[in-house]
């Protein structure tokens, strides 16, 4: 099967000449449809840089990223916009909700942008808000709800268009463990039931244990990867901790 996402030998250098700093080098991997992939690594390993590249908000110094066989960084601006709209969904650590729109309006924003008819929008929003358990909050404003609820709103917004790939940057970073578990379970069930492809950057082993596969990067390059297969989440969690310790991540950083 053709991979959904193909990352080939990418390199990212910040700054120039003497002040240059290589954030990523020689990173390659594939992601297939329906996968739930976690990207892990110590602080400063280049996780967020990698995600920014995949999100097309930054471009690599060298190498190419293909999605559905198209090199995403060679697209023209207009095509790129269409591509983001049609194929990508984003969840950020700091939510990035518009404070002046209600929860419902925030969720339907990408649908409005894609010019979906109002009737269908209503249906889609109701459906996704049930998945994330926020159907009672739709009329509220972001400042009236908790952090966990905000993140579920952001996740609903990312998923409402049923994008081919969902990119999540430390989605549980600002959440308490209950809210984090709720969010991760929702994502996990979407992955299993709807075959959504999710890629999540995290430094939290607990969050990572919900994934089906973990890619470890260290000092800007690919380190190793592990699959959950049919292990229990608890066993996988233990394995993640072990690998993380083995590649030199501090344990404090993980838990």
């Amino acid at each position: 099967m053709e991979p959904l996402l193909k990352v080939e030998n990418i390199k990212k250098v910040y700054g120039k000449l003497s002040a240059a700093y290589t954030a990523l080098e020689n990173v390659s991997f594939d992601i297939h449809e329906g996968e739930f992939v976690g990207i892990m690594g110590p602080s400063g390993a280049g996780k967020s840089t990698l995600l920014n590249l995949l999100a097309t908000i930054d471009s690599p110094t060298e190498g190419k990223i293909y999605m559905k066989n198209k090199s995403i960084h060679d697209m023209k601006e207009a095509a790129l916009s269409d591509f983001r709209r049609e194929h990508l969904g984003f969840i950020f650590q700091d939510y990035n909700l518009l404070d002046s729109l209600t929860v419902k309006e925030n969720i339907l924003l990408p649908l409005a942008i894609a010019k979906i008819p109002a009737k269908k929008i209503n249906h889609l929003v109701t459906q996704i808000s049930k998945v994330f358990g926020i159907e009672d909050l739709l009329a509220k404003y972001p400042y009236q709800i908790s952090g966990g609820q905000k993140q579920r709103t952001a996740a609903a917004r990312a998923l409402v268009t049923e994008p081919a790939l969902i990119l999540a940057d430390e989605p549980t970073g600002a959440l308490d463990s209950k809210s984090a578990t709720d969010l991760l379970e929702s994502l996990s069930s979407l992955n299993e039931n709807n075959n959504s492809t999710i890629m999540m950057v995290t430094h939290d082993a607990f969050a990572a244990s919900f994934c089906r596969r973990i890619i470890f990067i260290k000092d800007g390059s690919f380190s190793t990867e592990i699959y959950r297969r049919d292990q229990t989440r608890k066993a996988f969690f233990q394995e993640i901790l072990d690998v993380h310790a083995a590649i030199g991540g501090e344990v404090d950083d993980v838990i």
Partner: protein
């Protein structure tokens, strides 16, 4: 629901942010529209004889206004756009095309502009009557300002502002193209690079300012430096050194002072002092440019306003000095006097006085510095008795003149150009010598009729009867005489009577200075409002950036009161430092100006400065209140 309806909703709910932006645009439009309405107004044009001069004065001021309004709107626009970077980035990330976002911002801005234009013109129309009344009052007319809508003024305003809005809207359109997406997202996370204070730069800054001050304090007419470099060049040098010095001052000197304070750990580590000082250190150096702009704007406003207000304030005095008597003329026949008496009633005094017009040999008065170096001068001579009589009517000191001595009354006396009178001797054509025992810068006769007057003793006067032409003057003292009365008297008199009138002179100088004062205060008001708004916007941008810090402090258990105190003192420094520097600059400039004009401007200038500081202070309180509101609101929502 479309993107545009969502964007519209966003505007409606973010109204407080938009409100500031709209308000600053509306304000600019009101000011400009009122101003052009006045410019095109018939009432004003008809009333002023000096209309041509006033017209060109107004056109000049209008150009300055346009320039200023443009900068101001561009500034608030960029502030407003900065706040929306994140929203724009989110749209881009959700797949809206750049061109679409650009157009959205472009039209949104244009719509806001059109809306402000309508509101501004309507409000401006209402305001222009008020302003017109003020102007007419200042110029001393008793006309009621008519309530007319000027279509020409409206057209002019619409065209000027449409151009401005097109330019700023284009700025908005370009926002999305100017930045990389990743920068838009992390716009607020980027730190400012604070320049390092350097001792040399600090000293250089102070030296530059001192040099500018020193140059400005030199006497324009006697200074070697001014003579050598030339007038326009010197002015340019003063401006450059002072502005550059101010910038370096903010750039380095304030940094030094704060760094010094930072060393005092006993004080610094008490409560929030550490936050206050560190924040200031971080901000003030990165903001040297804005602070310089504010200081220079304040200095310009206070100087221009103070100078113009000083002139206005002194108008009455100078009309009184020139015309110690309300009216005066040279009487040639009794018929003339009768006609005048028919018009005049209610005089405080009405005297006929005798005088002599004598041409003196005045060689001794000449010196290299005097402007007038002719050998003969014509003076009006009166005796001591006449002088003392008039002096008591005008509440002036009496004189005692010795025989063969004289006192000269020269109101135009200036020690730089006038002869050194005391001790010098002049002689009449018949060989009567007179030695000046002293001089006075006040006269008892109207200068317009009598010119420079010499007072001699009664006996001396008799002895000089045949040395010159005998003259008959009539002097009238009338309380609250009107220009109309002055006009009526003038109609009865021939040109040769050399009629001089206090009310008429006062009116003429008021017309000139009154319109100057109006334009000066008008521009001053605009500059002041803009200066205040620039700091306001700036401080609030910082508040947005700092709110998470204050949230952290809140979580650490810092009380709201302590935070308010820290905020108030931070904002205080940002407000006060440029104000003090600006006031200092204007004190020097006005000192130079007042010694140039030989006028005492202390009182009007002080009044003007106080007025400026009070309004500026209001901005301070407004800013602190808004800052606190942002922080408190954030603390509440973030918990």
């Amino acid at each position: 629901m479309t993107l545009f309806s969502l964007a519209r909703k966003n505007i409606a709910r973010n109204f407080s942010q938009y409100f500031l932006y709209i308000a600053s645009m509306v304000f600019s439009i009101i000011i400009y529209f009122t101003f052009v309405t006045l410019k095109y107004s018939n009432t004003i044009a008809e009333q002023t004889a000096s209309s041509q001069k006033l017209g060109s004065l107004m056109s000049g001021a209008a150009v300055i206004l346009i320039f200023f309004v443009f900068i101001f709107i561009a500034y608030s626009n960029s502030f407003f756009m900065k706040k929306r970077k994140k929203e724009v980035a989110l749209y881009a990330l959700l797949g809206v095309r750049n061109r679409q976002i650009g157009f959205m911002l472009f039209f949104e801005n244009l719509l806001l502009g059109l809306f402000s234009l309508i509101v501004g013109i309507v409000l401006g129309f209402l305001c222009s009557k008020g302003f017109m009344t003020i102007l007419i009052h200042l110029m001393g007319y008793d006309v009621v300002a008519p309530f007319t809508f000027s279509a020409v003024a409206a057209m002019n305003t619409v065209i000027v502002f449409l151009v401005i809005f097109l330019v700023t809207s284009f700025q908005g359109y370009r926002l999305i193209y100017q930045f990389k997406l990743i920068d838009l997202f992390h716009a607020s996370k980027k730190g400012e690079v604070a320049p390092k204070p350097s001792m040399i730069v600090a000293v250089l800054g102070v030296l530059l300012i001192v040099m500018g001050y020193w140059l400005a304090m030199q006497d324009l007419f006697t200074s070697k430096v001014w003579e050598k470099i030339g007038f326009p060049m010197t002015v340019l040098i003063i401006l450059t050194t002072v502005i550059l010095g101010t910038f370096l001052l903010f750039h380095s000197v304030t940094g030094f002072v704060l760094a010094m304070i930072k060393k005092n750990e006993r004080w610094l580590w008490k409560g929030l002092h550490v936050i206050t000082i560190s924040q200031l250190l971080y901000r003030i150096r990165g903001n040297a440019r804005t602070l310089t702009v504010i200081a220079v704007l304040s200095a310009t406003t206070v100087t221009a306003g103070g100078a113009v207000y000083g002139l206005y304030y002194n108008t009455n005095d100078s009309a009184k000095t020139i015309n110690p008597n309300t009216f005066m003329y040279q009487s040639t026949d009794a018929e003339m006097d009768k006609q005048v008496s028919a018009v005049v009633s209610d005089t405080k005094y009405d005297k006929n006085i005798e005088a002599l017009s004598i041409t003196f040999h005045t060689k001794e008065l000449n010196s290299p510095s005097t402007f007038d170096s002719s050998d003969k001068r014509e003076y009006t001579v009166i005796d001591e008795k006449t002088y003392n009589q008039l002096a008591s009517l005008q509440h002036k000191e009496k004189l005692d003149v010795k025989d063969s001595y004289a006192v000269i009354l020269d109101i135009g006396y200036d020690k730089r150009f006038s002869p050194i009178y005391t001790g010098k001797t002049i002689t009449t054509g018949n060989g009567h010598p007179l030695t000046f025992q002293s001089f006075k810068t006040q006269s008892v006769l109207n200068v317009g009729t009598a010119g420079i007057t010499v007072v001699v003793s009664d006996d001396q006067y008799k002895a000089m009867q045949n040395d010159g032409k005998a003259l008959h003057y009539r002097v009238l003292g009338i309380d609250d005489a009107s220009v109309d009365l002055s006009q009526k008297i003038e109609n009865q008199l021939p040109e040769e009577a050399l009629f001089s009138s206090g009310p008429q002179d006062y009116q003429t100088s008021l017309e000139g200075v009154g319109s100057l004062l109006f334009i000066g205060s008008f521009l001053g008001l605009v500059f002041l409002a803009a200066t205040g708004s620039i700091i306001y916007f700036k401080v609030l941008t910082e508040a947005e950036e700092d709110k998470s810090q204050y949230n952290m402090l809140h979580k650490m258990g810092v009380s709201a009161k302590e935070m308010r105190k820290s905020i108030a003192s931070q904002v205080f420094v940002i407000f006060v430092v440029p104000l003090v520097v600006g006031l200092l600059h204007s004190v020097v400039a006005l000192k130079a100006f007042s010694s140039l004009l030989m006028m005492d401007l202390a009182k009007p200038v002080l009044l003007w400065m106080i007025a400026y500081t009070v309004i500026y202070g209001l901005y301070y309180f407004l800013t602190v209140a808004s800052y606190n509101r942002i922080i408190t609101l954030n603390n509440k929502t973030e918990g």
